[in-house]
């Protein structure tokens, strides 16, 4: 990838609403052509950060640089940033073609060229036949495609997406999500998306930045951040996770009265931990294997409390030394290993996870 000076750089940007610090001097950079998502719960400051980058609200502190230009105090109309809004924000009195052509008109592009560029971008979002419709005559998914086309046609140096999928139905959301990924890859536009939906973030992004309480908690590739969350908040926010109270005991871990072999990837972390230190083992439900029967040496023994059938997957709830553990497996695997009875002894093998202090 090309240098950072070509993309977006945010340096120590802060913002206050009255006495509340909604952004606590956040710094990040998005190299050109990459797709980053800002993931966080409501009130995490992610939308405020997006608005500062777009120029809709001023930053109290810090600076924003895009493609080598400092844009911190520049009005939005000079930034050349495409923005897609949660509720589309299409101009209701204009046709689809007029909506998309608006940005070009503002740039003084001649009528003939405008028409051909509008047509081209409509093809890109697979809405070629809809140019003469009014937005009100389109479905939510179609409106969001038009909004995306409108933001892309100006060839922006940065594309900002503010919860672009959250107003859509579940099925349409998946379609548009895939379209979004394809279009971003095809155009190669540097993209930052704000979302509270971890699945969306993991699916779309080259890099996920988790925001909470106005501060960056963790950033990394989706797989990395999912399997190696930096803290309890990130671990919980990215999906279901077991947080087991354990103590370090040499190369093993102790949970209640049982000693078990930790996954190999924890060897290094375990070597650094003080013997006898109380730790939390963060394990995703799908990182645990479960079998009926008593535990062998190195495994954890427990008792089955409940089975929850969820179509392709089954969740088994197991009690181990007074702690509840969720295990997620593919249905055929679970059925083949059965029969399962509530209260029966089961054994667990932990295949991965992360130690949190």
């Amino acid at each position: 990838m090309t240098g950072r000076e070509d993309g977006l750089t945010i340096t120590a940007v802060g913002k206050d609403f009255g006495p509340v610090q909604v952004l606590k001097d956040v710094s990040l950079s998005v190299p050109r052509g990459e797709f980053h998502t800002l993931l966080g719960p409501s009130g995490s400051g992610k939308t405020t950060l997006l608005k500062i980058v777009a120029g809709f609200t001023p930053a109290a502190r810090g600076s924003v640089t895009l493609a080598g230009r400092v844009i911190t105090d520049m009005p939005p109309e000079h930034r050349n940033i495409g923005v897609v809004f949660q509720h589309y924000a299409l101009f209701p009195h204009m046709t689809v073609a007029e909506n998309i052509g608006f940005g070009l008109k503002m740039r003084g592009v001649a009528k003939a060229e405008r028409a051909s560029r509008v047509e081209e971008v409509l093809r890109l979002v697979r809405m070629a036949d809809f140019g003469q419709r009014k937005p009100a005559a389109l479905s939510g998914g179609q409106q969001q495609r038009v909004a995306l086309a409108r933001a892309l046609v100006i060839k922006p140096q940065l594309l900002l997406l503010d919860e672009p999928l959250s107003a859509l139905d579940r099925k349409v959301r998946q379609e548009v999500r895939e379209e979004l990924k394809r279009i971003q890859a095809e155009t190669g536009v540097t993209t930052v998306m704000v979302t509270h939906d971890q699945e969306e973030a993991l699916f779309l992004a080259d890099r996920v930045l988790v925001l909470e309480g106005g501060a960056l908690r963790q950033q990394g590739a989706p797989t990395d951040i999912y399997s190696h969350p930096a803290d309890e908040f990130v671990a919980g926010f990215l999906g279901a996770i077991n947080l087991l109270a354990v103590t370090a005991q040499g190369q093993s871990l102790r949970l209640g009265n049982q000693t078990f072999a930790p996954p190999a990837e924890l060897a290094e972390a375990l070597a650094k931990a003080n013997p006898g230190a109380a730790l939390q083992l963060a394990v995703r439900p799908e990182q645990i294997l479960v079998q009926p029967g008593a535990a062998l040496p190195g495994q954890l023994g427990g008792r089955l409390i409940a089975t929850e059938f969820g179509g392709p997957v089954v969740t088994l709830r197991v009690e181990v030394e007074g702690q509840a553990v969720s295990v997620l497996s593919l249905s055929p695997d679970v059925l083949a290993a059965g029969p399962w009875e509530i209260g029966m002894p089961v054994c667990l093998v932990i295949r991965g996870g992360r130690l949190l202090p």
Binding site: A54, G55, F56, P75, P76, E77, R79, N80, I81, G82, V83, F85, Q86, H87, A89, L90, F91, P92, H93, F102, G103, M106, R107, A136, R150, A151, I154
Partner: protein, 274 residues
């Protein structure tokens, strides 16, 4: 559509239908009588009814009503257009820029212009006009009427602006429009029906406002309401009925326009203008 309306009508009780008929009768029977009398030959409203158009002829030749009518129309037109410009500006400020305290105070001030009786408002305005040296004059009437109609435009336009998605403005800005261009190309077309509605209402309120005109008119200047007031005390001819009929006709046209503006824009977010 038609069916459901019928069914709603059937659901009304006889009492409600009676009340509706009574209210409509109180409103429209006098209007009907005036319209009828404007076509009657007898100058004293006596029967038998004999159709004529002579009062309409008289109205446009030697009634002395046309001067005051034109004065009222011109004055109200000026007031309504001014109210449209200033009212829209104030509505934009109120919706987009005003701080919470300033906005609340401004709303309260506008509301007082509607709720304080015009009798008191007129008297107060006369005192102020005299104090600042404007005194009784056409300019004083203009200012007085403007103050009384401004709230209608501001409230109607601000309500529409408030219903507009703020992101529309942000979208236009991000696409390269300056704040003014964004307003002219995006917000203005969307609030235009409400501006027109507000302007028509401002015109009608201004045209009708006897009290403000009475207090602020200089001696010798007669707007239509002042002229009618004088005539009623000394007796009048049916050419006044003819004028009233014309005014009712024009008002009906206004209402049709307002209604059409509402229907035309029913599909826009924020709904109808009126």
């Amino acid at each position: 559509m038609r069916r459901s309306r019928l069914r709603d009508a059937e659901a009304l009780s006889p009492f409600m239908i009676g009340m509706l008929a009574l209210s409509l009768a109180i409103l429209f029977v006098p209007l009907g009588i005036i319209i009828l009398l404007s076509f009657n030959t007898s100058p004293y409203g006596t029967f038998p009814f004999q159709g004529t158009l002579k009062w309409y002829g008289a109205l446009f030749t030697d009634s002395g009503l046309l001067g005051p009518t034109w004065l009222s129309v011109e004055l109200s037109f000026l007031v309504a257009v001014s109210a449209a410009v200033f009212g829209t500006m104030a509505a934009v400020w109120l919706d987009r820029r005003a701080s919470k305290i300033a906005g609340t105070l401004f709303r309260a001030a506008l509301l007082s212009a509607i709720t304080v009786p015009w009798l008191i408002l007129g008297l107060a305005m006369l005192l102020v006009m005299n104090a600042i040296g404007i005194g009784r004059s056409l300019f004083a009437i203009y200012l007085g009427l403007l103050a009384t109609v401004l709230p209608y435009v501001v409230f109607i336009v601000a309500a529409r602006l408030n219903a507009l998605d703020r992101d529309l403005d942000f979208a236009a800005r991000s696409l390269g429009a300056s704040p003014i261009i964004s307003f002219l190309r995006v917000s203005a077309p969307l609030i235009l029906p409400s501006i027109i509605s507000g302007t028509l209402i401002a015109f009608m309120v201004s045209f009708n406002n006897f009290l403000i005109q009475y207090f602020l008119a200089p001696f010798g200047v007669q707007t239509l309401p002042l002229k009618i007031y004088t005539l009623i005390r000394v007796g009048y001819l049916p050419d006044l009925n003819a004028l009233a009929t014309l005014i009712v006709g024009i008002t009906c046209l206004f209402i049709a326009i307002l209604h059409r503006l509402g229907l035309r824009n029913a599909g826009l977010p924020g709904g109808a203008a009126l």
